[in-house]
């Protein structure tokens, strides 16, 4: 099992959906795409064994992965799609208010360049209601950054730790995210990211605006933010057309490619488990 399969508790969500309960998920025979991306679905820089199955979110990502030489690529949809299937109305999204705003983050090894203060001013100017800012755990832990958003009068939260090398994975990361998304009317970010698509799928109106905060040493192989803006212009701006956004999110999260539990068990190599269950 590749450790990235555990990021954000993805393996845990899939195991729950596959009927294996809340325990430690068994090894997955393949790499589950762990975030929306504009490349081959795998994280650049991670070591991968060639021809081990890539289990991707969308058909478009599968085509792209094939075109760059990946084989054994299959579409199963995003783990978030499985969470939506398990919790279609839990909690009920009756009291939606304000905006949940995701300032773009890098992962631990990356450093974001950009001006948080300018972004805060723009958010205040644009967002009509109360704002919840969801920081990546790395930035949430940086007191100065957190203070900046708190002082602006925003509610500052963090969905949890995505985990690293199987350690400290929060198996309910996605659940927490879904609960938060369903509390808000809008979802926004300065970059088109997984969170925006999750938000759209959870019924939020999306918005993407502000300085995209380029990463130091950002890998330009797949075109970076410039390409994202070219390819999905419909999703950029302080207000976007909701039906269009919902259709795109449906494709990008592969909601129509969601497997049945038995199908998923076969694809993930969970049909004939030899391992003893391990408590997490």
């Amino acid at each position: 099992m590749h450790h990235a399969n555990h990021f954000y508790g993805h393996a845990h969500v899939l195991a729950r959906y596959a009927g294996l309960g809340d325990g430690h998920p068994p090894r997955i025979n393949g790499y589950v795409q762990h975030g929306w991306n504009i490349g081959d679905g795998l994280a650049p820089g991670h070591p991968y064994a060639e021809r081990t199955p890539s289990l991707l979110w969308s058909e478009q990502t599968r085509r792209r992965a094939w075109s760059v030489g990946r084989r054994n690529v299959a579409v199963i949809g995003a783990p978030f799609a499985y969470l939506l299937a398990m919790r279609p109305d839990d909690p009920p999204a009756e009291q939606r208010e304000g905006t949940i705003w995701y300032p773009f983050h890098g992962w631990e090894g990356q450093h974001v360049h950009g001006d948080h203060k300018k972004l805060i001013a723009l958010i205040r100017e644009t967002e009509p209601g109360p704002v919840t800012v969801c920081l990546y755990w790395h930035e949430y832990g940086m007191r100065t950054v957190r203070r900046l958003y708190e002082n602006a009068g925003f509610r500052v939260i963090c969905h949890g730790y995505r985990g690293h090398w199987w350690k400290n994975t929060d198996p309910y990361f996605l659940d927490k995210q879904l609960i938060e998304l369903r509390r808000h009317r809008r979802v926004a970010s300065n970059r088109l990211t997984s969170a925006i698509f999750y938000g759209i799928a959870a019924g939020c109106e999306p918005a993407v605006y502000g300085d995209p905060m380029v990463l130091a040493n950002e890998d330009p192989t797949f075109g970076g933010t410039a390409r994202i803006r070219r390819q999905w212009p419909e999703l950029h701006g302080p207000a976007v057309d909701l039906p269009t956004a919902a259709a795109i999110a449906r494709d990008e999260l592969g909601l129509d490619h969601r497997c049945t539990p038995a199908e998923l068990r076969e694809l993930l190599g969970w049909a004939n488990l030899q391992e003893e269950p391990v408590d997490d």
Partner: protein, 604 residues
């Protein structure tokens, strides 16, 4: 001057581009001379042209009289072509701006290569609809379509449904009803899109076709020597290095069955969009040629055009052939004079090679004798006062000679011998070429398998009424290497390799060039048969040797028996003095002769 640094302002990125993807092969020019020539014919001066999908840069060079917009999916290709086009749009077909109209749309690499991995899939029909929408009323579409049941399907070692290459993220084959799979389906789809076909060409062998032939003429002209030679040449060189069966044989057979177009690897169609309501255009569109053929090392495009008197050659020399000749060019055994061909009528008749193969297969010795004698007589009848053959006829081989009503003509007389050759050598070269085709191709024929290629050449010459010796055949091999090297544009090293290959060819070898499983198996069967023959011969020889040894031993026993008898010993004793006397007399005679010799120096 063109540079690799693209003028950035010419590249438009509307989204959906593939940033690291290239469809243009690296370091190798795609041969799209025929398509470029056809495109130049259908594009009027000053027209706005959309070139959709990857095309050879040379095609854009031929459209210098028009304003060209390229639509590509791979960004690196956009950078490569940007210097040659007014504008390059890199993205999927949806990247075209709405409302933008073109006089001509060229999709010479098909519609599948227009689609990017990014964005929603439009499919073949969707891309056709989008490109048609970009065509102004009355405009022209030039489109290549792969034939899923074409020749390629029959010779490919890889199954079409198991492709593993990076372009195979989606495989659109014959099962996809959105993809037209024959000419009729194509016509229906074009009509549905509001397009009227002006002409359809069978494209051999792929999108970068070496030959484009009017599909209807190809279907009708089942015995045309021109089509026979053209299809054979295009297929002999136009496929992968390993195939299932000989594509050239298959193409010529398809031609004879009236399936030359139906089994073509693809088609190029020229279609016109319905004009807007109102008075029709006064300017009739340019007439389309009957055929466009890419020939020679320079990629010269020869056209066959129809006029009231019949078909004529039209020669367009490319820039490449206009470059100054290399220093060694003066020593080339053959050179090409395209100007001499321009405007000459295209002769009619059947190809001599095909007639000879047919006669050999039917074991029609009378027919073979008639054809070969006619060929030899036609050659020798054109010798000059010095008895030598010069010019084009000196290169007349069975694959470039047509036979009609018993008369012989050169199909393409543009290649000329640099220095005159003896008719015997010319005949030997022509016959050796045919002999090589016959035996390495595995054709059945009326002669014994024990003949080698030179032997069969001498036999064929005998049938033609000429008593050739092997030395002439050897001289013909040298000429063959030199002429072929000139025709293919080989350097000295390539010519040396070719010569050694030609010299060493054996009847049990498969044909040179593309390796086909069927012909390799045939070669193996011939080797096995030859091995059986030699084994049987060896066994027979062994048995004969054994029986002779046995007879010898019997004779020796008899001799020994006789040596030991009393009568033998008495006899031997009796004649001994006589034997000694004769020996002494001989010695005395020799000494006397030496003493009487007139030239003492010779004794030294």
């Amino acid at each position: 001057m063109t540079t690799e640094t693209a003028p950035a302002d010419r590249i438009v990125l509307p989204g959906g581009e593939m940033l690291a993807w290239s469809d243009l092969p690296e370091g190798r020019a795609v041969t799209t001379g025929t398509l470029a020539a056809l495109a130049a014919t259908v594009v009027p001066a000053g027209a706005s042209v959309l070139v959709a999908g990857p095309h050879d840069p040379a095609l854009l060079d031929r459209l210098a009289h028009a304003e060209v917009t390229c639509l590509l999916r791979g960004y690196p290709d956009g950078v490569t072509l940007a210097a040659r086009a007014a504008r390059v749009v890199v993205g999927g077909p949806t990247g075209l701006a709405d409302g933008e109209l073109f006089d001509v749309v060229i999709a010479g690499a098909g519609l599948d290569t227009v689609e990017s991995v990014e964005g929603a899939r439009l499919g073949w029909g969707g891309v056709l609809a989008r490109l048609t929408r970009a065509l102004r009323p009355g405009g022209t579409l030039l489109l290549w379509l792969e034939n899923p049941m074409g020749l390629r399907r029959f010779v490919d070692t890889d199954a079409w449904y198991a492709r593993r290459d990076d372009t195979a993220w989606s495989i659109s084959g014959v099962l996809d009803t959105d993809h037209p799979a024959n000419r009729e389906q194509l016509d229906v789809r074009l009509a549905e899109a509001g397009l009227r076909p002006r002409g359809c060409f069978a494209a051999y062998t792929d999108a970068g076709a070496r030959a484009l032939i009017d599909a209807d003429e190809l279907t009708r002209g089942t015995t045309s020597g021109l089509f026979d030679a053209v299809l054979h040449d295009a297929c002999a060189n136009g496929f992968a290095t390993t195939v299932l069966q000989d594509p050239a044989r298959l193409a010529v057979d398809a031609l004879h069955a009236g399936l030359g177009s139906a089994l073509a690897p693809g088609w190029v169609v020229v279609a016109a969009k319905e004009p807007a309501a109102g008075p029709a255009d006064d300017v009739p569109p340019a007439a389309l040629p009957v055929a466009l053929l890419e020939t020679g090392p320079g990629g010269d495009v020869l056209e066959v055009v129809a006029d009231p008197q019949g078909w004529r050659w039209r020669a367009t020399a490319t820039d490449r052939s206009a470059t100054p000749a290399a220093p060694f060019a003066t020593r080339e055994a053959a050179h090409r004079d395209l100007a001499a061909l321009d405007g000459r009528p295209v002769p009619e008749g059947r190809l001599l090679r095909t007639l000879l193969l047919d006669a050999a297969l039917r074991r029609d010795l009378d027919g073979l004798r008639r054809l070969l004698r006619g060929y030899a007589a036609w050659l020798t009848g054109q010798a000059g006062p010095d008895g030598q053959l010069g010019g084009a006829v000196a290169l007349a081989t069975v694959d470039n000679v047509l036979v009609a009503d018993g008369g012989y003509t050169l199909l393409d007389p543009s290649w000329q011998a640099t220095s005159p050759l003896s008719p015997e050598v010319v005949l030997a070269r022509g016959l050796r070429r045919f002999a090589t085709t016959l035996v390495t191709g595995g054709y059945a024929h009326p002669w014994p398998s024990a003949l080698d290629v030179a032997g069969l050449t001498v036999v064929l010459a005998g049938v033609a009424g000429h008593d050739l010796d092997r030395a002439t055949v050897t001289a013909a091999v040298d000429i063959e290497a030199a002429v072929t090297a000139a025709v293919r544009g080989l350097d000295n090293e390539g010519r040396g390799v070719l010569l050694s290959e030609l010299r060493s060819v054996e009847p049990t070898d498969p044909p040179a060039g593309t390796r086909s499983f069927q012909q390799l198996r045939e070669a193996w069967l011939r080797q096995r048969e030859e091995l059986s023959r030699l084994t049987a011969l060896l066994k027979w020889t062994e048995e004969l040797l054994t029986s002779r040894e046995r007879a010898l031993r019997r004779a020796e026993v008899t001799l020994n028996l006789l040596n030991g008898s009393v009568s033998y010993r008495v006899g031997k004793l009796a004649i001994t003095p006589a034997r000694l006397a004769r020996r002494g007399a001989r010695a005395a005679k020799r000494r006397l002769r030496d003493a009487l010799a007139t030239k003492p120096q010779e004794r030294q």
